[in-house]
Amino acid sequence: MLFALVLLPLIGALFAWVVPDNRLRPLTLPVVATIHLVLTALLVGNAPPPSPGGWIWLDPLGKVVLLCISLLFAVCAFYAVGYLAYRQKRSNRILCMGLLVCLSAMGLVTITQHLGLLWVALETTTVSMAPLIYFNQNARSIEATWKYLLICSVGIALALLGLLFLAYSTYVAHRDATLLLGPLMASARELNAGWFHAAAIFLLVGYGSKMGLAPLHTWKPDAYGEAPGLVGALLAGGLVNCAFLSILRVYQICLASGTEIHFFQQTLVGMGLVSMAFAAVFMAHQSDFKRMLAYSSVEHVGILAIGLGLGKGGLYGALFHLLNNGLTKGVLFLSSGNIHRSYSNKTTDVVKGALTRLPWSGGLFLAGFIAITGSPPFSPFISEYTIVSSAFIEGRHLVGWLFLLFLVIVFIGMALTVLPMVMGAPPTDTEPTDYEDRLLTVGPPFFMMAVILVLGIWPPGFLVTLLKDGAVMLGAQP
């Protein structure tokens, strides 16, 4: 069953490669995504026991990430059909294949318990996303692709060195060198401290650059800015969460070691605050709304890192925020993609009055903005509130106040870009393109927005249990 999560998208990719028709090909996406979502629902409800050898197991942490990815991908898949109908001049073969291969690799990230395999899967997501960023095939997108590919590859390479250090630390401790999570955690207290410390640093830097934690985030605005909206949604909601899951795995081992965890937590909080600060500074006067979303993503990975670094109550918040951020970013990127298509411009100099020209997309963008900045009643409010309140409960007042301060600055900065964009009168000197809101381009993000609202008002019981199980794995009180 679990292997189906990996194999199904690969078969779909093969299928997308074979289908010759540019109009029919995108239909493979929703078909695969629907089956994937059903599979995910079944597996999350009733996970099979670990595979013999312990390589494959869907634990609660994996479940949370898998749920988020599968849901987001399903929404993006339906949206893709509507979006690609407007982009018929360009072959979408590579796009469809890349999306499906990436889904397969993301699935593998969530179900594996072997850190080496997880690394391979994560690297696969990096490489498979590169051609998608280059979908528009112009000078700007090639620049973005190059920066993305190089920085992420280097980061991931450093993570590999970290993994090797980790394996060597078991070897020096006279145990069989292994990268399986279970045995690593069992022997964590005996690991050689020097090697383990070096491993933790390299892994944090490596996965952190993939996740986009400042100061390793420099590729993010470029890649998010130039990629099509739906690719941006998957980057911000899918890849980021996969990288975060990898950091969670390292966190688990650090936790089991008992000593390394303090350093790891402090570094996470520090990097998280720096990320939020960077985002707050660069978001002000950001005229390119897609780049603004990228900085918002930097801000939110910062929030995730802080939640994780605070430990205890923050853990639940971080896991919940992982889900909320992924879905909300999906709404924002998809609706911003629609707006971009209609104005064929992505700067606020031209884009004005989106609410008048595109009531649905503009409205969704506005709602997404309200949600992502942490306003009630949407679910990001709850997760951010959980994190910040845990900071004060833990007595980390400075962290808490800085967190709130950055949130306020980000809110103002983002509002200064979003509100003129959505409100007001559309420009009269530029003609709208042939894009108009249709069911397939607006329905999917609308559905996701509804999910966010429901999660904010009435989070379903099974999800709360799942998140709590996950938090317990990370050391929270049961």
């Binding site: 391979v120 280059y134 590919l149 590999l160 394996a167 292994t178």
Partner: protein, 213 residues
């Protein structure tokens, strides 16, 4: 045998320095290929023979010694570029920096305790030195191809360390890592091709449209 492994590791470090000092891209690519082949030979020298080992040796030599250099060489040929013209930092300076980094990596290796059977081997300093050299090439050179070469050198450095764990690592992970590297380089080659078509040059310092105002 392990004494011979050490000599080979010294050779790896020397190749690093050669790469820092040369401006000819084709020469750098060959140097990387030689490094890859040495990487393939090394596990056989420090581990007893096994099928797993033979597979790794063949895989590394094939991927790092033949296929990847061929892919990059192809990109060089298509972009019709032969030299790295003006790096951000001159050759003599990078060479000296490389030497300093090598010395530092020896100092760093002193700090980390090795398993008794690896005590006298140069794997750790060679690995760190190669990693840093790759980083140096990556950051100081302008041409996209030089940057890819830098990335490869970095990967080689990581592999040098990985060789200590050849026996302990499952084949699947190693094969996956190699395959990812291969595909990554392949994609980079394609991107380079597009860069040279779009900008009529593969000078990455021309990639500067995207920045904050």
């Amino acid at each position: 045998m392990s004494a011979f492994a050490d000599q080979l590791l010294v050779l790896v470090m020397l190749i690093n320095l050669v790469m820092l000092g040369t401006s000819r891209l084709v020469f750098s690519i060959r140097a990387v290929a030689v490094q890859g082949v040495i990487l393939g030979i090394l596990p056989g020298l420090i581990n007893p023979f096994s099928g797993h080992l033979a597979g790794i040796t063949a895989g590394i030599i094939l991927a790092k010694g033949i296929v990847i250099p061929y892919l990059i060489g192809n990109a060089v040929h298509k972009a019709q570029i032969r030299r790295e013209v003006e790096p951000f930092i001159g050759y003599v300076s990078t060479l000296l920096l490389g030497a300093v980094f090598t010395a530092l990596s020896f100092a760093f290796a002193e700090k980390l305790p090795l398993a008794p059977e690896h005590k006298d081997l140069l794997f750790v300093p060679a690995s760190i030195a190669t990693l840093l050299t790759g980083f140096l090439i990556l950051t100081t050179r302008r041409k996209a191809i030089s940057q890819v070469i830098g990335y490869l050198v970095m990967e080689n450095g990581i592999f040098v360390f990985g060789l200590l764990l050849t026996e302990a690592m499952p084949v699947m992970v190693e094969a996956g890592a190699l395959l990812d590297l291969l595909v990554g380089i392949f994609v980079m080659g394609i991107v380079i091709n597009h860069i040279s078509r779009e900008f009529s040059s593969i000078d990455t310092s021309r990639l500067r449209a995207l920045k904050e105002e």
